[in-house]
Symmetry: D2
Subunit: 362 residues, 4 copies
């Protein structure tokens, strides 16, 4: 279990890194939405390995096939089955990992849980699993654009100790995509690239932060008390491989403010109250204010490093591991479409949920 | 919707701050668990208002009644209905709030969502709703102690800029409960008390951080890919009133480490592999390693402050608000049992879920 | 688990026959619906024991208290907590049942499942549990009347071998309520009354059939493939105590028709296609046609009889049981509001679900 | 939505009759279960079209591919993705159906619900969708055999007015499979074959009843109150194409019995109480007694007939339809593996659910 996300816009992913392929079933997408393979491929290409020298060189085209749920260019309301075949699955490259546990990977924990594990490239715990999320997120993106005018954009705001200066209100997709780092601040992007190159050279790896904004979100999305928008976002983000933290609005920085400094005063807006500031990050009591929803996700440095590490075998004997497989020295650039996908899925879900609330006249 | 949490150990809360009372239904608690009102009351008393001068003076005994699911001192497997009546519900004190929106409260967003709102003391968005969570968490605590030897303990690790120095491996409930701040570092506790007193005096409020540890957790709990243990913890924590951030293990601090610095080497342990360090926070790939699960939750400064604030009326007209109700200048001490409750609920859920995985012989 | 029903209009019931009371939490009811205790009490009174000499004489007023979710006469969108206290719970009357298993009751099976059982009057398996369903169904009734013009009406169409002749298209609530049997065919009602009286006199009990119709249901409700409207109705009905069968439209009688005889020809209607006949029972492919939804539920004869029966003790020893408690010689009259409640819950759920489908322009 | 069934052993199906293929994702299957394509293909072959002259001649091999979740011959605990490509999808054969609604099919209702419909061969409402159920059911079958010794067997007990005489306690798979009708009573089977041939000859179709038994079911499976075993079975069965009714044990026949006639007396058995008779059908209060679970499913005559029928166009104009596609004159023989599949899924689900109840010592 645990392979399904969402309630009204619900996805179920399946597939392993070195099995036949990766797929997802999307249930709950409203009928009559125009949808083509191209809508999906764009985000998949942003997630794809080998797109720049900053990422793993595994050669996967990640071409998606729509198996069901779309007829004559429109969704039918039936579940949408999507499939991406694995092409460059060099399982042999993982033979030396069969009998040991890589540090800070899921090898040991999967064995502890399941007693049987697909050890080829991480199996189910591989970031390849996120193909299904990104493809489903692209459908959510199309839906939200079509019916709600909501758009979601993420970027790399930090790599190791390099911090970017970006305005969430005005940053553009073009600016994000202009650099292989997906950092829209060119000075920071250059420093990040240098840092990543240095880490790779050193057989090491780096972590960082993705910041993400949803703009055009109407007031009223999200649901008390457990399904607060930020709670669902937090779950979505912490379900991403290598993520270790989440905060919304001022987040952890709110801790060093006082109430007077943190509170967002309301002022009269043209269509109703708006907040003069946005330290809340666009949510109050779990429900959107109508302001931009802004949040951050912390990613740890890639667990796979090109250096010798102490570990143990499946028989609990000490051994030294020298990594050989293909990997990213820093997952941040490819994490951006993953973060966006989870945000899109949460927003599509809550947008549809709100429909059942808007039944009786206000 | 959104009032239910968990899959196998599932709670549904109901009730408003100034309605008849607050309740919860717990479904999925295994039968034959010894359970009394005292088991529940202990944690409720830690959450209760008026327990010290640091907290709101609303006078609620918060006595819980077990309405169902327990017979002759043991659970029956039937849903456990719990009820706490509201006693000191001075609705009149909120009359002046009926027609305006308090900054950084859920007043405006609930109106935006529902078009109809119980404005007395926050209604459903009040922290009184957490009574149900804490009572249910106490059942989970009893279950986990009985069947799994898992214990969960939280403490205030930071208030504003005062940071405590606490060892998650050895901190005790007695040390936490020794001070009204629930900070087990006496020096920090004294400084926190002074800071909170000063903020109250100044008509202001403070935020902070609760750190929480689950000890005795076996390897193998949690579920890929969306229901990673840390994903469910993140959702639980971000569903708490006033919470703004969550991280696990090194969390946001992992960002400034390299892979070599962050990876937890495995070493042979007496019963299988163990990690030499615990930067992962006890989870890898969403599944427990057998080490302590350690995480942090950031809380914003209380939105209610005893100072004039700019805001708008329900008719979108500018107005000044001077707070009058009873409130906590810092929610941190009372947030501790809430954080523990959500962690207990997540762990009980995953502990039960693991039962369906352990079916065929290893 | 298993105490929750529905997805968008979702109820969770709790409580035992001889515990503190019976309750339900209704989550998902849209905000702004006018709702009073009277709306609920009417259906509860139809379900109540002691309403006629045909039913058990247990003296319960079954007065419901609305604990949450309603403010100033309207729903708020928050979960609605309802409570009915048990008054006439003569547990002592059940002392002789503590150590044995009543035939065709749930005594043995609950013990087999839970290993711990509230043996007072059936505990959780008592038909008193349906109080929560009937109260929740009354909310669904109000909602469906208000927003959709759907009404649901059931009646006793058969008791033992007495069959009624009733037209589902025109039968009225007044006709159903005119007789204590809830059979709107006066001749059959008289025969049913005689049969029930004779069975009681003989220390025996009778079963029968409730037929139910939903009128005013628009085309398009229900969801392929597992959540067909009739599948959800079937589940709801088979979840009622003492029910043993369900069919929709021609149902089991369709077996002896040919396709030519059974198919419902479409004819042009004023607002689109309509069926000339309704052997389908208002559903095709799990989705409503716009015709009346008509279905039947079979109930077994009451398991409690005033005659000696062979059974075994909890220690697996043969024993003779002579029933003494209060009971209905025929559950059919009181089953009518229960059947209606489950149908109302299913329809409200699917009506709300359809809202997420009707998003893009047709 | 509505494409997912089960809670612990959960399947999600996707795919249309004339799209790329049909698939299913099975989540919750325990790890370490031996599983091969052959385990699945056996039941798929029993469901396959063209297996005898009694069934449609659509030429589909229905070869299944396991895309994920199985490694080195055993399940891993990851979701199992299964795919069957559509081969013989002669969409052209359906061109004449594009603009009209076939009587008693889902054409009109899907249009009413979705406003956009895959009209090729019924699209999602086609019985081809059950491929996913049958494949998933085969996994459940393997699991239940391996861990619980439960076996499930269905047969055709009635076609139109031909009734079979079969003993649920002793009937064998060999006897069922001995005849193309899947009726293990040879005399009845011959009469059924004659009746089906006559109906086909006459351009008509027939309905019937599948009876099904689950043997080896331990006492204690099923969950009060909404998830009674028979409630979940009822939902599963009424979700099958063309099904119109369900009953368990004496079912609708219980109506004409009295309590004395219907009650199942308990007698001491070697390992605890057993019932002397089994009118309950192996369930009491929704939970299994340890006796055989026996139930019936009524299927309507096939809606597609080779005769002219009155219907309307999508523009609501009267038109005459003469059927041309390939179809079964009687679905009963192929319905048997579908009924078994749904029963297997329900039992696997409840068997896993019971694991979370059996936690504390009895």
């Amino acid at each position: 279990m645990g392979n399904t996300f969402g309630t009204q816009f619900r996805i179920s992913t399946w597939g392993e890194s070195h099995g036949a392929g990766i797929g997802v079933v999307v249930d709950g997408c409203p009928p009559r939405l125009p949808l083509t393979v191209d809508d999906l491929q764009h985000d998949l290409d942003r997630r794809r390995p080998g797109q720049s020298r900053l990422t793993t060189q595994r050669g996967e085209a990640d071409q998606v096939e729509i198996l069901s749920g779309v007829f004559e260019g429109r969704t039918t309301g039936a579940p949408i089955g999507l499939l991406v075949r694995n092409d460059d699955a060099r399982s042999g490259a993982y033979d030396h990992l069969k009998d040991l546990y890589r540090p800070s990977h899921a090898d040991f924990t999967y064995d502890a849980k399941y007693g049987h594990r697909d050890w080829r490239g991480g199996g189910r715990s591989s970031a390849r699993e996120t193909i299904g999320r990104v493809a489903a997120g692209a459908i959510a993106r199309r839906l939200l654009a079509e019916v709600a005018g909501i758009d979601v954009l993420g970027w790399v705001s930090r790599v190791h100790d390099v911090m970017a200066d970006v305005d969430p209100g005005s940053v553009t997709l073009e600016a994000v995509e202009a650099d292989a780092t997906r950092c829209p601040d060119p000075t920071a992007a250059a420093a990040m690239t240098a840092a990543i190159d240095a880490a790779r050279h050193d057989g090491d790896s780096l972590g960082g932060i993705v910041t993400c904004v949803a703009r055009g979100v109407p007031a009223g999305l999200g649901a008390p008390v457990f399904d607060r928008l930020e709670a669902d976002l937090a779950k979505g983000m912490l379900s991403l491989p290598a993520s270790k933290g989440f905060d919304v609005g001022a987040g952890f920085d709110a801790v060093s403010m006082t109430g007077r400094q943190h509170n967002d005063a309301f002022v009269p807006g043209p269509d109703g109250p708006v907040t003069a500031t946005n330290r809340s990050g666009g949510v109050q009591g779990g429900i959107t204010t109508g302001g931009d929803v802004v949040f951050r996700v912390a990613f740890k440095p890639t667990a796979t490093i090109a250096s010798a590490q102490d570990t143990v075998t499946v028989d609990n004997e000490a051994v030294s591991l020298e990594a050989r497989g293909r990997h990213d020295p820093c997952v941040l650039p490819r994490a951006v479409p993953m973060v966006e996908a989870m945000a899109l899925l949460v927003l599509a879900d809550h947008w549809l949920r709100q429909r059942t609330t808007d039944v009786l006249p206000h």
